[in-house]
Symmetry: none
Subunit: 235 residues, 4 copies
DNA sequence: AATGAATGAGCGTTCATTCAT
DNA sequence: AATGAATGAACGCTCATTCAT
């Protein structure tokens, strides 16, 4: 699961360089970029290597010079996307300052800038869709990416609660709730079924942010009456 | 896209009746239930009809007595899941009473009871994953299911805002933000990559609900300072 | 290869009798009539038993009450057609009188009346098309039907030559040449590729007959210069 | 219906060159040759592509490098055979000289030399057998091949009648009658049911020719008494 | 006798993978 | 390094055959 040094994902750019004699170095990334686009669009199983090769402008055999198998290509796609995501996260960390709310805002919008709106968002969709076909990839992603993202949010929330800026909350669960709209935003970029043409990602994120901040501040005295849901006879 | 009268999805129960000539009526639902499970687990393309048949306890040929093709089976799976979901939504509507917050709670937990925790949640994952392979299915789902769910939330939010229980918000966008954790909850039931073992769905939903209610109430005088995010040179 | 007493082939008549309770006796013939039509149209392999059953107005399973297998059905179709053809030939024989030319005319037109224009002509096409898939059927047909037809022509030609009405000819070969247009007429009834809309069967047969009679009479003194064909280097 | 530049049909010669990467050019003809043989022997539907591939010495998948589908292969087989037949006809035309009888002889024996005795004769059988399954192919054959053959015969007969060498005849119908023994000769090469071991094709053609020439000359004064056939009650 | 649901072997087709060039 | 012709295992789908009713 570690085939090539990672390079940030980039769209298979219509080549404006001399078509022959491309530096060999760039090849793997061009291939994974093409593969990512197609895996995300059609799913792993439904993507033909012919099409990946065609999109990357090479022949099918060439793929096997760089990747042992279709599965290895898939793993490389995820790997490369993850490396880029982690690099982005590291950069966000360095920018990390201000109030907890400001940090939160930086996290949400930084994610969008550096991941959500890039092709890397496709990796999120792939994890959603191919998890059970590639459990070790899913596990890897969970450990490396999600856990790191959760850590950033955890730090932020803890800081906010400690400073009294936020009321006390179940931090781990809140992290899940905060991340969900981001993940869905990534997924819905590729899912006709969910896409909502009326709202821009920026508006979406801002609304998410505002609800969150108010929700997290909530006057501690304020009471949310919670009617115990009737879980019926069901488990 | 309408093959058989719909029946709520149920797991293919191990049958103890005579092997030949089982009630013909029940067959389609047993087959779609088996298909749903496998489509959700492996994806459409990676699911073999042999396996669907085996899981339903029939032979491969039998599938073709009820469905014209693998694609028709897929559509029937979605169709059946959608019919059940809409029936559930209709029932939720009838229970609809109380304050806006109570309504919201009913919607969230009712969804979980009647959809999220049932096999129907798989339909959500299928839409997420197979959208671009079945655009008309995605479109259909969007129009029939999502739109209806959005309508329920819209009514609730509008009522809350009108009564002053909620502050004024961008309702359409808020709907998106409110639905995302539900959709992610459905998806993550089937995605190792996202699952979070530490939190139960009920806790997750409760946290979501509390953040929401507080976020929606927010003292209108309260101010959320919003730093214009630096969208850099990117589009 | 002998399944049921033969009955003359008849078109699957649109049933005007009470649909239920057809005398069981008639069934096999209805089935073979339906099968003949479809075998002739599509060929043995491309004909589905579903279609045969549907055309005969019964269910697929019913076919197996009368015929052991698709192949047995095929053989029964041929058998029944052949029996009818032989009965027709026997009748033609009894009418046999007059000059050799008159006999010839009777044979050609009698064949058309009693075989060529009936569904039995389909048997000829089946033999042409399915010979190598059913060698023993072909053999059987050859021995029973063709041989008998040849015998009729042989008698006629021999009589004509003996009486001086016809010049001496290579009788066996002449038989082949005389039969060919009949066989082609039968075959082309079912072959779009050969059909000639401009000529009626009767005109066709009359022209064949006239050419034949003149050709067989030919003034013995007359000379047909025959240039030895150059068979070139080919085998 | 035009897949590859046509090449005369030839048997798939056992190749002694390297197994991989044989001259790509030659492949299609080898494949169609193998397919022709099997289609003629077993019929289109009963021929398995495995067998075609095996006979051509390639794997099943290779067929799909050259032909889109089994049907496309069939059409290519016909196409290639027709192209060769038309080329042969064109050549025959150039040799065209002498009396009408001599021309007729050249047509009959030239057909045998260049078509009837070659694998192309199989195309005739295919048209006979598969016409209704491939109507547009049958139509195409009829227009291109039969019509051209008829034109050659028409010219010959017209010339003969004009010069007084032949008596006046119904030319179009005579063409049908003249062609029938040729077509049957082609068909019977592949049909056990019709084959006549006692006569060689050459003898057969010679007898056909002699009967024809005498039949066409016929002393115009000569009278063929024609008894109006009793068409009974039948149409 | 008749049905038609069920079966499963078999075939057409696809596509990941190989390898000679 | 790159190609693309060739392979063959695998899968969707069909249909002759069976059998409980």
């Amino acid at each position: 699961m570690k085939l090539h040094a990672a390079r940030p994902l980039s769209e298979a750019s219509p080549d404006c360089r001399p078509p022959r004699r491309r530096r060999k170095e760039a090849r793997p990334s061009e291939l994974t970029a093409a593969a990512l686009a197609l895996f995300v669009e059609k799913g792993f199983a439904a993507t033909r290597l012919d099409d990946v090769a065609a999109r990357a402008g090479v022949s099918k055999g060439t793929l096997y010079l760089y990747f042992e198998s279709k599965e290895a290509l898939f793993k490389a796609v995820i790997e490369e996307g993850m490396v880029a995501a982690l690099a982005a996260a590291a950069q966000r960390l360095s920018d990390f300052h201000g109030s907890a709310a400001e940090l939160l805002q930086q996290l949400l919008f930084g994610w969008w800038e550096q991941i959500g709106q890039t092709p890397m968002a496709g990796v999120t969709k792939l994890i959603a869709c191919e998890s059970s076909n590639f459990p070790e990839v899913a596990q890897y992603y969970h450990e490396r990416v999600l856990t790191r993202g959760r850590a950033l949010l955890r730090t932020t929330l803890q800081r906010g609660v400690a400073s009294g800026e936020f009321r006390p909350v179940d931090i781990e669960t809140a992290i899940d709730v905060i991340m969900a709209p981001l993940l869905m935003l990534a997924i819905s970029r590729f899912s006709l079924g969910f896409c909502n043409r009326k709202t821009t990602p920026e508006t979406y994120l801002r609304t998410h942010f505002e609800l969150l901040v108010k929700g997290l501040r909530g006057s501690s005295g304020e009471f949310v009456e919670f009617v115990e849901p009737l879980t019926g006879g069901k488990r």
